[in-house]
Assembly symmetry: C2
Homo-oligomer: 330 residues x 2
């Protein structure tokens, strides 16, 4: 195992301790629940609480986006495992300012069960909690609502964070966040598995020289294994699926996120971005916002994904609004 | 080879095209020299030109730090290879505002030869160019001036960028940049080689389960191969060497950079940061600035380095000054 850790059972706690120490000016873990990371200063004007979360092993997602203009709290489970209901509930108690909260996470069964239970617990306390699931992975289902959330989590969370910061009420935050998710399309490719710290083993086996398009960030099956293709061929294939699925047409505006899955060099990510840029120019689709880098990873997985968000003026404004978190400042 | 590229001979050009396209609002490549990346808008008040550079394959170093408050230009060579004198000279012509320029790069023979030649060429045109070499790798020599530059490049460049932005003249920029380098100490550990795109091969061979402390970012030999140790053991060893070499003492202030070399998960980097934080607290050394992440990489190398900058008030102010580049905003 090519990892630098101590005991494999301690990685989440030790990572969180390190994260809190490194970013102590902006965030802290709750004294009585070390799986909940919150902003040191909540908004001076009460606003909707924005809470993101899920399993760990996807850093900087989710914890890296807690800060002004983005998330108020992040709830962290074990690796690739949903947090239990209690920390989800504790996050609500920590950040609710009387305007209700929104839970945001990728569409995975464990997360849905546990966050829903926490929302009920909060409801019993009179705190209104709504949920918007990220369902951006085009490869995972033909039904939009059945899809997994992958890197499109980040753009959808950003919209919610900006809307809450602007003072939208809970219904309006839900509306615009749902609109963002409805207009977000991703697909990825993996060349290798990530390594689980406890076992030291890969989650799945990939032959050297092979790749799989459409694979999920936890190793969920994609659209079949092939030999590694060129960057241009891979991007063409991802864009073909994404554009076919979406209603993005000539003359439309998009955000592009080329996301590294952890161990893919930035060099390769920019080579991929180059082809996305060329291809969308050929189709007369306007890239209004471009993000490249490791936004949502799977530890040491080699791979990348492409996300397009079909923009209208409102989504453009919210996605380009200021924020100040350790992993996104603008 | 687990890389996503097209032809291995085209990676640098294609990466730069992708980078320019993704960040076109802030930077561009020179029309007549595509190995020089410059800010779209130079400072409105003339200032010293800050030029960084070196071989590619270390992204986001060097190109990611071009922008307001940091570098005015970056000159890019082939992978692990110095840029030739001409683009270095062209960068001076592009950013000089009549106050002279400073060349900043890691201490490698090819870079020294080529940048020095460019400085002479600029001198012939009446443009004063000074140089400060980064020499932060404690493992590479007992003589400070003989050392290689590794992740401490980033902190030293940041000091120069902030000093120039504040209107320091060339002598003063050189003085404070040299002071920063003189107070910067790094040491790294590698668990695997990076992969060269043209050959598809590793630069060096490392047995599975082995690591080497003190190895350079191009695979230069370190202090001997051992089995992979725990994160805490590795950090203890790096800090011991760094602190022994430096004059950092109880009560002093430091910047800490825990730098990922490309393929090491952020999770592991924060586990390392945790131990740095614990250890320096035990020694009553104050961490005033903490940076964690992939600042200076070696493509898909698995490893990390720890950098300490011994701070005085001036260095603290310059390192925490605002900047706005794709890979550092503060």
């Amino acid at each position: 195992m090519k990892r630098i850790i101590n005991d494999g059972y301690d990685v989440v706690e030790e990572m969180l301790e390190g994260y809190e120490a490194a970013h102590k000016d902006t965030v802290h873990l709750l004294d009585d629940d070390k799986r909940v990371l919150v902003r040191n200063k909540l908004s001076e004007t009460p606003k909707v609480g924005v809470i993101v979360g899920g399993g760990t092993g996807h850093e900087p997602l989710f914890l890296g986006y807690v800060g002004e203009g983005f998330a108020d709290a992040s709830v962290m489970g074990n690796i690739n495992t949903s947090p239990s209901p209690e920390p989800c509930y504790n996050s609500v108690k920590a950040v609710d300012q009387g305007m209700g909260c929104i839970f945001l996470y990728g569409n995975y069964q464990g997360d849905v069960l546990n966050f829903d239970m926490a929302a009920e617990m909060a409801g019993d306390d009179g705190i209104h909690v709504e949920t918007v699931l990220s369902t951006d992975d085009v490869a995972s289902s033909t039904e939009k609502t059945e899809r997994r959330g992958i890197a499109g989590d980040v753009t959808t969370f950003k919209v919610a964070g900006a809307a809450a910061e602007k003072g939208y009420d809970l219904d309006e935050v839900v509306r615009v966040t749902q609109k963002s998710n409805d207009n977000t399309y991703s697909m990825g490719v993996s060349l290798s598995s990530s390594t689980l710290p406890v076992t030291g083993e890969a989650i799945f086996h990939m032959e050297e020289g092979d790749m799989e398009v459409g694979m999920g960030i936890h190793g969920e099956p994609g659209m079949g294994v092939s030999q590694i293709k060129t960057a241009d061929e891979i991007v063409n294939e991802l864009l073909e699926h994404i554009l076919e699925d979406s209603n993005i047409a000539n003359g439309d505006d998009v955000l592009v996120l080329v996301n590294g899955l952890g161990a893919l060099p930035l060099m390769d990510q920019y080579i991929c971005y180059r082809r996305v840029d060329q291809s969308l120019k050929e189709k007369d689709i306007n890239i209004k916002i471009s993000w490249v880098g490791d936004y949502s990873t799977s530890m040491d997985m080699v791979g990348m994904s492409v996300t397009l968000v079909h923009l209208d003026d409102e989504l453009y404004e919210l996605l380009s609004a200021p924020c100040d978190t350790p992993y996104m400042k603008q």
